[in-house]
């Protein structure tokens, strides 16, 4: 993968940006401390408390009062206005992003770790009995032929039948992607081709023909872009060695958690393969100095 180690990039400083949110918090902090000090004697009857005791109580009370605000600062703005959404879109589309972890949702670092594992992974998928058997079968096959697990194994020769990663595997593979925003759609560009996500159209069409990227719709909720995908082909896997059915439903929750870091809380739903929704959080870091590239062959 042709990536470079991301250098700290100064994020936009407008409304909704990380810096803006931190600045806003500091302002609230100053105001709250002033308000607390003026209200303290009458509200809490603490005026007569000795100074050393006040010195302990003041920071503790301020911390309790500000706890929700700091939690909010970590998750950025609570309510998105059209302008703050534009700021986020601008910030996200300026560079490419790449997954920070391995290609496994379950927590394995790589294929070797998966094959050599003796214990359940850190975040084991809640498999149904039917799919538990399938997973064990695929793992046994992979012990004989390791390439059967590798999503890129067939991609070295043009026309060899290399399959696209598909959703949701594409969200964990270490391949840079770029968000592109316009008023009615979000497009994700990568070597996989493009993924089209329609904004605010409400529902998916009926009778979808299954594809690797499926049919995606999205909307902004506060500072979080929620992407809902159905119509996914069962030819791909959720992660190496983990198949899914054609009833797979993936809900992504994208938000910015730092100047150069995005978080995606992925909810994977498949009534045939999973006993209950599987929730996994992935992070992505900004990659500077590269541009979208086409896939050399299918």
């Amino acid at each position: 993968v042709n990536t470079t180690v991301p250098k700290p990039v100064k994020a936009a400083e407008g409304v909704g940006s990380y810096q803006h949110m931190r600045g806003e918090c500091m302002l609230h902090l100053v105001n709250l401390v002033a308000a607390w000090r003026s209200a303290m004697p009458t509200l809490f009857g603490l005026y007569c408390i000795r100074a050393p005791m006040r010195a302990l109580l003041i920071p503790a009370t301020v911390a309790v009062l500000l706890q929700p605000m700091f939690a909010q600062a970590g998750s950025s703005v609570a309510v998105a206005t059209p302008s703050s959404v534009l700021q986020l879109e601008n910030n996200w589309s300026n560079n490419m992003w790449v997954s920070s972890g391995g290609m496994f949702y379950s927590g394995y670092s790589n294929l070797d770790e998966y094959l050599n594992a003796r214990a359940p992974p850190p975040n084991a998928p809640p498999l149904t009995a039917e799919y538990q058997q399938k997973v064990e079968h695929l793992r046994a096959e992979a012990m004989k032929d390791r390439t059967s697990l590798d999503p890129d194994a067939k991609c070295h020769v043009c026309g060899a039948g290399c399959l696209p990663y598909g959703v949701p595997l594409v969200l964990t593979m270490p391949q840079p992607f770029k968000f592109q925003f316009s008023p009615e759609m979000v497009v994700v560009l990568s070597k996989q081709g493009y993924r089209e996500i329609l904004i605010d159209i409400g529902t998916h069409p009926k009778d979808l023909d299954p594809t690797y990227s499926g049919h995606s719709i999205a909307s902004w909720k506060g500072d979080t872009l929620i992407v809902d995908t159905v119509g996914l082909s069962d030819k791909t896997v959720i992660e190496p060695g983990l198949p899914h059915s054609d009833q797979l439903h993936v809900v992504e929750h994208w938000r910015q958690i730092g100047p150069d870091e995005l978080q995606n809380r992925v909810v994977i739903i498949d009534p045939k393969a999973l006993t209950h929704p599987w929730v996994v959080t992935k992070t992505y870091h900004r990659v500077v100095g590269i541009e979208p590239q086409e896939k050399p062959c299918m």
Binding site: E184, V187, Y194, L208, D209, E294, M298
Partner: protein, 290 residues
């Protein structure tokens, strides 16, 4: 660009400057010319960013799926490769080939008439590349600084930089090339270079890496789009080859990309030609050219 320094020199003379001043201007002109030679493709222009309202209006105007109108064939005018193999008619708009490339073209045609599959690179699911990709329906997405042309041909896309940059000097060759775009009134001009040599320009016709394409896209009516292609290749053509195509908006409802080669919807028949399959895996009519 080269005329500008001459005019500057003339103004200097009119202003009563000495011959020394004109000589300095001449030196400056020579320096400028060499500088241009050292960096020929990178022509940066200043672009005024679109407002959010303008961007929304632009996307609304170009929204939907655009499909080539019926009755249009290859750039040269052939209907299909099968038609061509039968040798029924001459091309309506033959490429102005140099003698060397005319021979290459004729040899491929002769083999095709013999039944050889020599023109259909896409049967191996190799990307169609530009301009072959323009045979497929496509969508346009305008962003703050780029245009994405989303094709229904193998989920390929063209990323067109609209931020005023030029083409890079050390360009990596690709199937779709490197594209920069700009507006000339209501006409969108897309300039593309940097093509790999193993993609198709037209049925039975490849090109060199020197291929240079200029597209002029113009909305004739609300649902009619005209695209004028001008192909230049100093090794292949004796003069630029101009082809005009028209597209129509087929629906206002946007749906995901169609199943494609990546979805295993293509296979080969006994002769090696590509055949598209329906969702049940049954062969549809030969569709390698569209």
């Amino acid at each position: 660009m080269k005329h500008e320094p001459h005019r500057s020199c003339g103004l200097l003379v009119k202003a009563g400057a000495s011959s020394c001043g004109c000589a300095l201007a001449l030196i400056a002109f020579i320096s400028l010319s060499y500088a241009q030679l050292a960096d020929p493709p990178a022509i940066k222009t200043t672009v005024i960013p679109l407002t959010a309202t303008q961007l929304e209006a632009l996307n609304r105007k170009w929204r939907g799926i655009w499909e080539m109108k019926e009755g249009q064939n290859d750039f040269s005018g052939w209907k299909t490769v099968w038609d061509w193999s039968g040798g029924k008619a001459n091309a309506a708009n033959p490429p102005p080939l140099t003698p060397k490339w005319q021979k290459i073209y004729d040899d491929i045609r002769a083999k095709a008439v013999q039944g050889e599959n020599v023109v259909d690179f896409t049967s191996a699911c190799v990307p169609y590349g530009f301009p072959g990709i323009t045979f497929f329906p496509e969508e346009f997405q305008f962003t703050k600084d780029s245009l994405n042309i989303l094709s229904w041909g193998n989920s390929a896309y063209r990323h067109v930089y609209m931020d005023g940059r030029g083409h890079p000097r050390d360009l990596t060759l690709s199937y779709n090339g490197h594209s920069i775009g700009r507006w000339d009134g209501d006409t969108l001009i897309i300039d593309t270079v940097g093509f790999r040599e193993d993609s198709i320009l037209d049925t039975g016709l490849t090109h060199t890496s020197q291929l240079h394409s200029i597209e002029r896209l113009r909305m004739l009516k609300s649902n009619d789009l005209e695209v004028e292609f001008t192909f230049s290749d100093p090794e292949e053509f004796v003069h630029p080859w101009v082809v005009t195509r028209t597209y129509e908006r087929v629906t206002q409802v946007q749906i995901s990309a169609a199943p494609d080669c990546a979805d295993n919807r293509f296979t080969r028949d006994e002769s090696g030609a590509s055949i598209m399959l329906d969702s049940a895996g049954k062969p549809l009519a030969p569709t390698s050219q569209k």
